[in-house]
Amino acid sequence: MDFLNALILLLNYIFVPALAYGSQLAIGAIFVTLIYGILRFANFATGDMMSFGTMVAILFTWYFQSLGLSLGFLPTALLAIPFAILFMGSYMLMIDKFVFKYYRLNKSPPVQLAMVSIGVMFVTQAVVRIIIGPSDRRFFDGEKFLIRASEFKNITGLNEGLAIKSTQVITIVVTIILVSTLFWFLNKTKTGKSMRAYSDNEDLALLSGIDPKKIVMITWMIAAILATIGGVLYGLDKSFKPFTYFNNMLPIFAAAIVGGIGNPFGAFLGGYVIAFSEILLTYAYKKFFMYVLPESMEPDSLIQLLSTDYKFAVSFSILVIVLLYRPSGIFKGKIL
């Protein structure tokens, strides 16, 4: 019984939250890695692009709510996502046309493109704040929990409750669908393969007759899908605040590099590596040991490896270690 309680405790406080958080990071990391692999620059506007997509989705959500549209127990935001993606896609293509294209055609070094992306970051941040303001917004509606902790306790008769938020389930399900579609696209379709070929060896891709303009356009469209969905999922699960989104860029970068930048599958796993290590290292295991160990050996301190204040610091430290010992990432990406 105690063992089961301990297990549920870990599930409730570590596994489920880390899985949801990891999925959100994974989507962002694939976004970063695609831009890096195909357009060949580190996109410092990542977080703000995600916040832009989320903002559009929120505006659509409000509009649908005012019309009285809803998805029942599911959040209305899911209905808004396709519209937001269209909007986001045109925003990205516009940025590409007016900003990035020039440097791409001039074959500017990646560093210059990264600097340019900082300009885009400032502009996008301004647009988001001017339109929707800097404050914290919740736009979740529908059923909040799939299983409440108290219900779980009643059903199983355990001391520990397992609460599963519907947003966590939505996050995980959507991520699975999105990521498997993406990998199917990249590995099985002609266009997807040509994208990989372009990322692998640009000159040879051109010699094979692959059209770079089309590749760039599709990349931005996929980026728009990833940015919007990733942003909305994070916003549904936590809340939407432009500053938080800007900061999320950091663990996302960490995930992309840990997974091996330029390698989408690595980025996907990198998201979970970062999320699990953040939560595992900052969780206080006192209660867990109280269940597992006999009474005489019960700990009196929190048994916490690091204070939760260092959550971000954990992922960054992992990144630094990976950079030192395996610069191409755990799952082998491009060597930078």
Partner: protein, 235 residues
């Protein structure tokens, strides 16, 4: 009139000095033609010019009586000219089969039978079809590169130093493969450093010096020409 010919090409990179000075090269179907010469003679440049990778000041490139001097490299690919660069000539992060598929990117019809033909030509590729090209040996990679270029069923195949950096045994094997390709009625034009071996399998050859044709003739003639021997074949 030859099947694929470049006449009196003059030009260089960007606004730099002319590298080619009235250089002419031609090749027929089912024929191997080598371009030889010392370093900096403009061998690779001549090939790139024929592919449309640099702008010519004068001269023409003609395939099957059609003037393609003004076409972009991509459009020349559509005319049936395939090119294997010297380095980075495969997609290292993709499988053998995917490499071949990328070679057929421009084809709209079903190309499974073309892939089968390539596998017949290079049986080792069939064995390794699901492997990443980055994991193959140098000689196998060159076969992938050849196979990728052959996917569009080209009438002209241009090879930039196909044997650079491979061992002598692999070199012989590669030359055997090139002869096999020639027998499928493809016109093959190649730049080579290993002049003797290249001339041995070539029907004809050109020796370029400072972007001009210095000697030309059949492989045997060049091998026996005292001038060529003393200056390029090491006596």
């Amino acid at each position: 009139m030859a099947f694929f010919e470049a006449n009196n090409m003059t030009g260089g990179y960007g606004k730099g000095p002319d590298i080619l000075n009235s250089c002419s090269v031609n090749v027929n179907r089912g024929e191997i033609v080598s371009i030889l010469g010392p370093n900096g003679a403009g061998k690779s440049t001549a090939m790139k010019a024929m592919l449309g990778l640099l702008n010519l000041k004068s001269g023409s490139v003609i395939i099957d009586r059609k003037d393609i001097s003004k076409l972009s490299p991509q459009d020349r690919v559509k005319e049936g000219i395939s090119f294997v660069p010297q380095t980075k000539n495969v997609f290292a992060g993709m499988t053998v089969e995917e490499n071949l598929e990328m070679g057929a990117f421009l084809l709209n019809q079903d190309y499974t039978n073309v892939i089968d033909e390539i596998y017949n030509l290079f049986p080792i590729l069939n064995e390794k079809r699901k492997q990443f090209v980055g994991e193959l040996s140098g000689g196998q990679r060159q076969q992938v590169a050849l196979g990728r270029a052959l996917m569009i069923k080209p009438s002209v195949l241009m090879l930039d130093e196909p044997t650079a950096g491979v061992s002598p045994i692999v070199m012989d094997e590669l030359f055997d493969h090139i002869i096999k390709v020639k027998k499928t009625n493809v016109a093959i034009l190649m730049v080579e450093q290993n002049a003797k071996q290249a001339l041995n399998i070539s029907d004809r050859g050109y020796v370029l010096v400072t972007g001009e044709n210095r000697y030309s003739g059949t492989g045997k003639e060049l091998l026996n020409d005292p001038g060529v021997r003393s200056s390029f074949l090491g006596g």
